[in-house]
């Protein structure tokens, strides 16, 4: 366990040192990674500014969904996001084999090698936005906070499982950087109040494609709103995690040093 922690810390230190070589680019990237994710917030603010609204949802409540999304992504992306890009690049260049020669599980090494602090901008942005929203909606009670903690953990697992699935897919779909875009478009469904979704889609968004678990459920917990169906969402999240691990191991076994 100690060696695992030391390995992870080493990866984080290395990731930070790499980006510190060009600080201007790093800080610009930190801001832009946050800026890119603020698009749903901008859309929401402009809609409300023009007299439109999501029925039954106040502006700060909607922004809280997007802030929670930012926080979860701001934790999951620095840890696991780089793995997708790195795996894709290593396979394209033919250097993925180096991971297989090392005395640790390739998945662990792929995670350690990929820490990228530029996504931390999302976490800081998400925290600041959440604080602004909660100032307007009221401080949550301990029970709400506990429920939020549980659902936020589910959200992190969902992010991790999604990123792992993408890292697996790029083993066979070599060099396709647009897989992130595909993920963003699907996740976008979970960055607005569920009232935008037609009823049948809303059920699907809990299970088997639990997009509502990204941010809508944890934010609803903080707001004291209904979190019906959270168990289904949690179950399908863990099923997705199991599936992504199976997929990674299966594709790793099929890996033939020539792009899968």
């Amino acid at each position: 366990m100690r060696s695992l922690a030391s390995l992870l810390l080493h990866g984080i230190r290395l990731g930070l040192a790499t980006r510190m070589a060009d600080r201007f680019d790093f800080f610009a990237s930190l801001l832009v990674m946050l800026g890119l994710e603020l698009l749903p917030c901008l859309i929401t603010v402009l809609l409300y500014g023009n007299g439109l609204a999501f029925p039954g949802w106040q502006l700060r409540e909607v922004i809280l969904i997007q802030a929670v999304f930012l926080m979860a992504k701001g934790i999951a992306s620095p840890l696991f996001g780089g793995m997708v890009w790195n795996t894709s690049e290593m396979i394209r260049e033919g250097t993925f084999e180096l991971l297989l020669l090392k005395p640790r599980h390739p998945l662990l090494l792929a995670v350690v090698k990929s820490f990228d602090p530029e996504d931390l901008g999302k976490l800081f942005g998400g925290l600041a936005l959440s604080a602004w929203c909660l100032r307007g909606t009221g401080v949550p009670r301990p029970a709400q906070l506990a429920e939020f903690g549980l659902l936020f953990f589910v959200s992190l697992v969902l992010f991790g499982a999604s990123l792992l699935t993408m890292a697996s897919v790029v083993m066979v779909w070599v060099g396709n950087a647009r897989i992130f875009e595909l993920f963003d478009r699907i996740a976008e469904l979970g960055q607005y109040p569920p009232v935008i979704l037609p009823k049948r889609v809303r059920a699907l968004a809990l299970a088997p494609v639990p997009v509502l678990a990204f941010a809508v459920l944890p934010a609803s917990a903080l707001l004291g709103r209904a979190t019906d169906g959270w168990l289904w969402a949690a179950l399908s999240t863990f099923a997705l995690l199991a599936l992504s691990l199976t997929l990674w191991n299966y594709l790793l076994r099929r890996f033939s040093s020539a792009g899968g």
């Binding site: 801001l31 832009v32 809609l47």
Partner: protein
């Protein structure tokens, strides 16, 4: 051009030969990118998904209002559809490409060619986008039309096509100009992504610009971005509303033409300045 900004060979190529070179570059780029068709085909999923989300947002938020900023719900949904489709036509990565060439020193090869690099890059864009229209815009247009239940056809088709062509050129000019930052900064990826985000937002790719605060709009229309996408999309919807004035399609295209001309001059000047900084080792 050499490092003092003088033309080495670019102007020696006759206009007809330049056109032939442009066509040849476009053709080669088409062939090159056809090999990556699965990369472009991702748009068949991401494009409709983006449209569906926007369509659901408009449906949910406009339940109680008839029209917002002069646009009814159907107009807003059509706006999102046209913005998405026009985005495929004007999309550009000349900035990324130029910065990569400068950073790696490969820009030197272009200085030795008898064709100025902006023209070379424009030829690449022609080929790349022609393929994208075939592989991305046409199928997504079909899917969006199917979702809407009727064929999505722009109003003033000819003016829309002309405006889109100007938007295509303007997007290239603006992007290439922002790519010139690579001559001053060794690693300019962060700045490039900042500019790209601001460019798309201020071009009206996500929401009609009339949704932006009124005090900000006069400044916004002084920038080139709204003329890239917002103007063609509003022509497709029937009328172009700029700062409370409703322009006809020909008036809007004429204004767009003037903006494009201005940016051609700006780009020519700034490219000369940038070339002087180039040392074939990252600038």
């Amino acid at each position: 051009m050499d490092t003092t900004g003088r033309d080495l060979g670019g102007n020696q190529l006759r206009p007809r030969a330049r056109l032939e070179a442009l066509a040849a570059i476009a053709q080669v780029t088409w062939k090159e990118w056809a090999a990556f068709r699965s990369h472009m085909a991702v748009s068949l999923l991401t494009g409709p998904l983006r449209f569906v989300v926007m369509s659901w947002i408009w449906t949910a938020t406009t339940r109680s209002s008839n029209a917002t900023q002069g646009l009814a719900r159907a107009d807003l949904i059509a706006y999102s559809a046209f913005a998405l489709l026009a985005g495929y036509a004007v999309f550009d990565f000349a900035d990324w490409n130029l910065q990569m060439l400068v950073r790696t020193g490969r820009y030197t090869n272009h200085l030795l060619q008898p064709l100025p690099h902006p023209l070379f890059a424009f030829g690449q864009k022609l080929g790349h986008r022609a393929l994208a229209i075939l592989l991305e815009a046409v199928p997504v247009w079909g899917l969006v039309s199917w979702w809407l239940g009727h064929l999505l056809v722009p109003q003033h088709v000819a003016w829309f096509a002309l405006s889109l062509a100007l938007g295509f050129v303007l997007m290239f000019l603006v992007n290439y100009a922002s790519g010139l930052v690579g001559f001053w900064l060794v690693r300019a990826e962060g700045v490039r992504r900042c500019t790209a985000l601001a460019r798309d937002t201020l071009a009206g790719a996500w929401l009609p610009l009339s949704f932006f605060p009124a005090s900000f709009l006069p400044l916004l229309f002084l920038l080139p971005y709204p003329w890239i996408l917002y103007v063609p999309v509003r022509i497709a919807l029937g009328s172009v509303e700029i700062l409370g004035n409703v322009l006809t399609a020909p008036q809007a295209v004429a204004a767009q033409f003037a903006v494009t001309l201005t940016w051609t001059v700006i780009l020519t000047g700034s490219q000369r300045l940038a070339n002087r900084r180039f040392l074939a080792a990252g600038g």
